[in-house]
């Protein structure tokens, strides 16, 4: 593989990592702001307010973990690709 190609693949890898991170962060923010509306409405109803808060907490924790996992997988994947490219680059020298 040509050094130029390896350089381009490294750039692409970094760009994909940036895009996933920015995309997931933005999606999470929108998701949270939209999900807040029904919870806010339901917590105004006295008898269900307490369980709704629990459900909201659980849902927020689960979705937060999912978004965090997506970021983690993307970073680990990006790191692995980066290592492979470094080795290819060293071999190409």
């Amino acid at each position: 593989m040509e050094k130029e190609t390896i350089r381009q693949l490294r750039g692409l890898n970094a760009l994909v990592a940036d895009a996933v991170d920015a995309g997931v962060t933005r999606t999470e923010r929108i998701h949270r702001s939209i999900a807040r509306y029904p919870y806010a409405a339901l917590t105004r109803i006295g008898p269900v307010a307490a369980p709704v808060r629990v459900v909201e907490y659980v849902e927020t924790t689960i979705t937060g973990t999912v978004y965090w996992s997506v970021r983690l997988v993307a970073r680990v994947g990006g790191g692995v690709v980066s290592q492979v490219l470094e080795r290819l680059d060293a071999r190409a020298r």
């Binding site: 190609t5 381009q8 490294r10 750039g11």
Partner: protein
């Protein structure tokens, strides 16, 4: 003796074109992040970077002449935009540069750059590049013709206007500048994008805000196209007084006076209104759209004629 390995010109390949498009869209971001996909301005020979030293220039152009022409591509393109259609093999491919070399004895140099950077920044890079080229060139230079397509014309105009005192060498050699489909008065499409971004962001909805944000991700280079010249406190860059200037513009319609041709121009750039000033001279090519202006026989004939003039 073994035959030298001839590597194909990669500038026409999908990855290289894709990288140029990416640079146009988000090139300023790529540069800011230190991403290796960000293009640095360079001269290209057969699709590969050309080192600016005497030996490399002599090897690339063994029959170099005292007349130079420098071709600067437009937004989201690379130097492959200058190639005429047809010719599957590299040696069969023709461009304005190769034809000028044959017909007018001009030694052609192709610039590749990150079209997502602000036009003023690209202009400063071009100034440096041309100063280095003139310093390393193996022969005394008689004249330089600058040819820019679309944004490339704005970069040329900006480089001529903002050249540093140490750039006097190349600037004094510039006899003519040819701007092909260059939006000196700004591109309507970018103005539309600017308006759409503002409208979307004015709505309180999450989705409209998101679309507005995505639209606003476009590069500084793209945004500069809406203005049409290198942004500066002084406004539009002046025309270089010591050179002749030519605007080669296309229209979608065969009749340039047709309302569609007048409104949409070559699809991206409109023909400027007639002025009484002798410069720049405007030449219109009816029925030639924006991208085709960079590799069209009738346009070339005009360029050839311009280069044959004083």
């Amino acid at each position: 003796m073994d035959e030298p390995i001839v590597r194909p010109d990669p500038s026409h390949s999908l990855p290289e074109r894709g990288i140029s498009i990416l640079n146009g869209m988000i090139g300023d971001y790529l540069q800011q992040r230190g991403n290796e996909l960000a293009l640095a301005m360079s001269l290209r020979h057969q699709g590969r970077p050309l080192a600016l030293d005497n030996a490399s220039l002599t090897a690339a152009h063994p029959t170099a002449t005292r007349k130079l022409c420098v071709l600067v591509h437009g937004f989201c393109c690379n130097e492959s935009v200058w190639t005429f259609p047809g010719g599957a093999r590299d040696e069969e491919r023709e461009s304005y540069g190769t034809r000028l070399q044959q017909d007018a004895g001009c030694t052609a140099f192709y610039v590749r750059y990150n079209t997502g950077l602000p036009i003023a920044e690209s202009a400063a890079h071009l100034d440096t590049l041309l100063a280095e080229l003139v310093a390393a060139y193996p022969l005394p230079i008689e004249e330089i013709t600058l040819i820019g397509h679309s944004m490339g014309g704005l970069v040329i105009r900006g480089a001529c206007a903002s050249a540093r005192p140490e750039s006097a060498g190349w600037l004094a050699c510039v006899r003519r500048a040819i701007y092909i489909g260059t939006p000196h008065d700004g591109a309507d499409l970018e103005r539309f994008a600017l308006g759409a971004t503002g409208a979307l962001k004015a709505f309180p909805g999450h989705v409209t805000q998101l679309i507005g944000d995505i639209l606003n991700l476009r590069s500084r280079g793209t945004k500069d196209l809406g203005v049409g010249h290198a942004r500066s406190a002084e406004g539009a860059a002046p025309w270089l007084a010591s050179a002749r200037h030519y605007l080669l513009m296309g229209t979608l319609t065969k009749n340039p006076q047709h309302p569609v041709g007048r409104i949409f121009g070559d699809a991206l750039v409109r023909v400027p209104d007639a002025t009484e000033a002798p410069e720049p001279e405007v030449i219109v090519f009816p029925g030639v759209h924006h991208l085709a202006l960079a590799h069209d026989d009738t346009v070339y004939r005009s360029i050839r004629q311009i280069c044959a003039g004083a």
